[in-house]
Amino acid sequence: MQVDGVVGLFLAKRDLKRANLWTTSLIIFVMLLTFLNLVVVSGILVGLIEGSVSADKQYSSGDILISPFLNKAYIENTPEAVAIAKNIQGYQASVVRYTGSARVESNYRTTIRPDELRDGAGGSLLGIDPESEQSFSGIDKFIVEGSFIRKGDSDSVVLGKNLLYKYTPIEAPGFQTLKDVSVGSKIRITTGDVKKEYFVKGIISSKVDTFDSSVVMLDSEARKLIGRSDYNANQIAIRLVPGTDPIEAKAQLLASGVGEDGRVQTNDEALPKFLKDIQATFGILGNAISSIGLVVAAITIFIVIFVNAITRRRYIGILKGIGITPRAITISYMIQSIFYALAGSLIGMVVVFAVLKPLFVAHPINFPFSDGILVATVPGTVLRMVILLVATIIAGYIPARIVIKQNTLSAILGR
């Protein structure tokens, strides 16, 4: 067996060394494309959702999110919970938000016919402290028109782009967007029985649903609209120092009793189920597309080795004739397959980690609901490399065996 390996390697090395450079380059190029197909297609599909998830984490939920229990309208003892959060190990920043539902209307002063719809939209109400929000999320950088609200802007709001027809031109039953609203417009917000007029100070487009589907206003104004006289909020988002284990931080919060006032979840836990389902679906979809690429790669190698072996039938016959074992000859073809797959995969690794990943970070794909990044981890990529390697070894073995099994004398004499 060892001798078979030595002879197989000896033959394979010389075959590869003296093969046509262009042919070898072309085969490696096909393997590179296959490898990229395996890694990049699924990586982008997963990255499409991952971009949305990481944006939510960065700009909205943070590493740990405290929210009201399902049967409660707010987090009990919010100020105490925030104070406890500030003392846990790994704490970096936090933000408190007030939420509710709101109806926004623009032409409420105009008389309309009974069959006409008011220019209005349904959305969320988001009350924030502008300074702590800016230091926590820096969300104000996503203002696309006008400017962000500041302390004292009690008569102004920022509208999320999903509330405006200009940015979300969808007309569907049950879904209405504002058509005649821009920066400076006066709008009326209704929450329950409370109505109040505000000026539109800015429009935000962040691809983070918390902001893009909300009317963003000062926390003091939000509390008035939702009728909250205390400081119990609806969201406490906590950011941890990078490297801190969120599960460990969550455990500290629970140990301090915060779990009795509201629901404490890590970002992963707080992720909506539909988003997790989409993540899993896109992962499956990516793997399915990659599998097709894998089959294409296996067939490519099969054809390359088969053509190589068929055209060198006599060469194989001579080797057998002079006493070289079929196993040694098979090993030489398998080593060539491994070489092609390894070369393609290693170049692919360099392309993925040195070129594509940094490129996608610098220039994410502008999907309508997220900034798509390329998700490619080293273990995941190595696993795909191993899968490609196994597929090519099998694809190299089968044709080599088919040709080697032929009669030695017939192969030598070419009959």
Binding site: V7, F10, Y315, I318, L319, L409, I412
Partner: protein, 225 residues
Amino acid sequence: MITINNVSKIFQSGEDEIRAVNDVSFSIPEGQFVAITGRSGSGKSTLLYQLGLLDRPTKGSIVIDGVEVTTLSDNEQTRLRLHNLGYIFQDYAILPTLTAVENVMVPLLMQGISEKTARTKAIKALTRVGLGDRINNTPGQLSGGQQQRVSIARAIGHNPKVVFADEPTANLDSETSRTVLDAFLELNREGQTIIMVTHEPEYAALTDRIITLADGKIVSDTSNR
């Protein structure tokens, strides 16, 4: 050394049977240089393929160095070819992607000899056939005669018990043919058993013994010594 008993090789052609080798028996002692001659289609190459274990006879037995070889498995026959037999083909049959020295090294490596030792032995074999200065040439850089000498070096490099040569001079000019024949004669003088198929009477005359075939049968078996 080699004994063949009632060996026949029969090919089917539709309903007809073609007896390429027909009930042939003879023995070859160690160190003998034997020429198998005959006209084209007489069965001389087919007989050599049976003796060289490249093909299996339909009937009969072949005993090489005390071992009945026709009943051996393919793998056992491959091992026997590797260790005990050397084969020289009519059209040289050297491996095109290997240099002269690498061509000779391959069977040696297969015997489990280290690459360094195999290279030394291969160079020695090539030097013996006058190609010591051409070891790193690929087949494309060698003339027909030189390629045939590489083939000879490969056949003798691992010191086989028998060397089989199938019309080794068929594709060579007379001067080169003579060089190849001289190499065979020198090997034989050193004790090498050689069985050579040839249709050239003048080359057959240089050997120890001439076995002549016609229609697959031995029509004469004469000694030159």
